[in-house]
Symmetry: C2
Subunit: 375 residues, 2 copies
């Protein structure tokens, strides 16, 4: 009794510019809507105290599911590799598990992280700052499977389609995204069937997902069913309409890809249940957090105490695209203090003190500020 909707591309309601409607209604300056609450209840972010951990367990790692978590029967499940290849492949999970496997530590962040802090506020999943997590992903390198299939010379992109389906911006679709061939061929791009050494949890894409280190999470297609090599750029909804840096609804914008440099801090002290305000006793405390960038290694983190910035101590990163721990000892003196942290990566990019606005609320990497009452 399962019902199937085919993937449609760019056929939804048109804007003035002739493009399908953006993901939801126009940004608002009003209060939170029931629709945002529904999304916030389904999806979940990483409580910031989990920044203490090198690796984020399921349930603490952020999850964004566009539609429903599909009901997958792994025993009958197959991955299709097709399109502009010498030989199309149809692989069962048992077959995939026999291929050589790699494990990559990867920090994934939702491209919409920070959205609810924007004003006007784009209407979508109302992330605050915690749409992030780092896991060890184990599986078959995509390049290995593309090698088996043989990519034809005129191929330009690889399209990844999940089994999750729904309607977005008026367009019925299966979730699908593409990567340029040169990104798909990177040795660390993996078709993962394990997270942190255990079977992939349902909400993270069981039985198989793509993981694209360095890119925002939307690239790492979950519940992966199809890998199609194509000879023209993919124009699916999640590529052409969603996940674009736009100034307005009519702006064609530019596609979102790699994660902008960011750092976050474990809020020190103890919280108030309702307000989450932090209370700390006077004395020494070790401030700590993590920093990451999808564009290059993190080269520095500064910690601001009431606006005065000092360099933090950086530990070694766990991998090229995994977050890097930072620490800074502080002697808390009585009063209300504002703590913040700001990372810089090897491209010279650093986090902005004021948030940059865009129509879909994507790529936000504003400096985090934590108010602490010391008494």
């Amino acid at each position: 009794m399962k019902q199937t909707y085919t993937n449609q591309q760019s056929s939804g309601p048109a804007t003035a510019a002739g493009r399908p409607a953006p993901p939801a209604a126009a940004p608002t300056t009003g209060p939170l809507t029931p629709e945002e609450l529904q999304l916030g209840a389904r999806n979940h972010s990483m409580p910031l105290e989990a920044l203490r951990r090198d690796i984020t367990p399921p349930g603490l790692h952020y999850v964004l599911t566009h539609f429903d978590i599909p009901d997958v029967d792994a025993s009958s499940w197959h991955l299709r590799i097709s399109g502009a290849v010498e030989m199309a492949l149809e692989l069962s999970m048992a077959a995939l598990r026999k291929d050589p496997a790699i494990t990559v530590p990867v920090t994934l962040e939702c491209a919409g992280n920070g959205r609810s802090l924007l004003n006007p506020r784009p209407l979508s999943q109302p992330w605050i700052m915690e749409g992030v997590g780092t896991a060890h992903w184990t599986g078959v390198p995509l390049a290995y499977l593309l090698g088996k299939a043989g990519v034809l010379p005129h191929a330009v992109e690889v399209v990844f389609t999940g089994s999750d389906q729904g309607v977005q911006g008026g367009v019925p679709q299966r979730y699908a995204r593409s990567l340029p061939i040169h990104e798909a061929m990177r040795p660390d791009v993996v078709l993962a069937y394990k997270m942190n050494g255990s079977e992939l949890p349902p909400q993270h894409g069981y039985p198989l997902r793509l993981v694209v280190p360095g890119w925002y999470g939307m690239a790492s297609v979950k519940w992966l069913e199809s890998v199609e090599v194509v000879t023209a750029p993919f124009r699916g909804y999640q590529q052409e309409v969603a996940y674009r840096y736009q100034d307005s609804a009519d702006d064609a914008g530019t596609p979102v890809s790699r994660i902008r440099v960011r750092s976050l801090m474990v809020p020190p002290g103890i919280p108030d249940f309702f307000t989450r305000k932090r209370l700390l006793k006077p004395g020494p405390v070790l401030l700590q957090g993590r920093a990451w960038s999808g564009k290059g290694a993190v080269t520095g983190v500064e910690v601001g105490i009431d606006g005065t910035w000092q360099p933090a101590h950086l530990e070694k990163p766990a991998g090229g695209y995994a977050w890097r721990k930072w620490t800074m000892p502080w002697v808390a003196d009585p009063g209300v203090h504002e703590l913040s942290c700001r990372a810089t990566d090897e491209t010279g990019a650093t986090q902005p003190l004021e948030q940059n606005w865009n129509y879909q609320g994507l790529g936000n990497n504003v400096v985090q500020r934590v108010s602490v009452t010391v008494e």
Copy 2:
């Protein structure tokens, strides 16, 4: 550099009735507040499609953390059993793992589930309907350890204290709750160190938690450090102020204990990303969900299609306090339909069609309604 706050009891700001302030500000008819969003971002509910599963994995199972998830070192961690006992005990995890273990399947639900549907809306974690989950909890029966320690004849309650600390209603505290002796001695009350056969995840109480089958989740104290047998009723904040059925802030109210009968349905069809409206193709579809009660076995589930109720097929429950699967075939005809489900338990209690209001928004078990567009 860890800082510790001692548990305080009923010493916060007083209301007119001389009791500490309730958990947050007065209920509101206004829009969602930033504080509620913060709570909704930290905690998470169970996406309703997870009702397909007998057992809920971490990340899909609901989580409510009052304060922060504590940073526990299991190797130095000890459980203290003290108070009105013949012999106080201090047990390491290694020692606890040598004791006889049981595994119990338990449906846990947050007492505040459904809160955000109330009007006026109590200000706290803004659950919609999905603050629930079912897991296999493995550990040592509490009764076994109480037997080892020897409960003195004048004991009346057992107080459980976690290592999570914060401020609520102006009262600094470690999270603590009590059970009457006769509940604490039930053979299925367990000090669990495994969830679904794996090590307890941090957010579910690692390294040890209490699980009280049949009671709302607040009784199942996480990050359990202390079990104290007492000779007078416990008057801690989470017992005396929070988790009470109150008509108003000044009403002393009655304590929340067992889970009221409830059922939920997997919303059929596919969702719209933003509105979560359901779209279904005409034809046969198997409606399904789960039903549970902490007060007695579920004896029936009715499914309403546009207000006409029919009995669903009930499968065998997985345990005395685990949910019971129900199914009902339906032939969807074109149009907009309202689907609902309503469970009854062996006490004769059934779910209300209209939600019952109380000051803290607790114990809500209103019938779920799912609107589906068939086309």
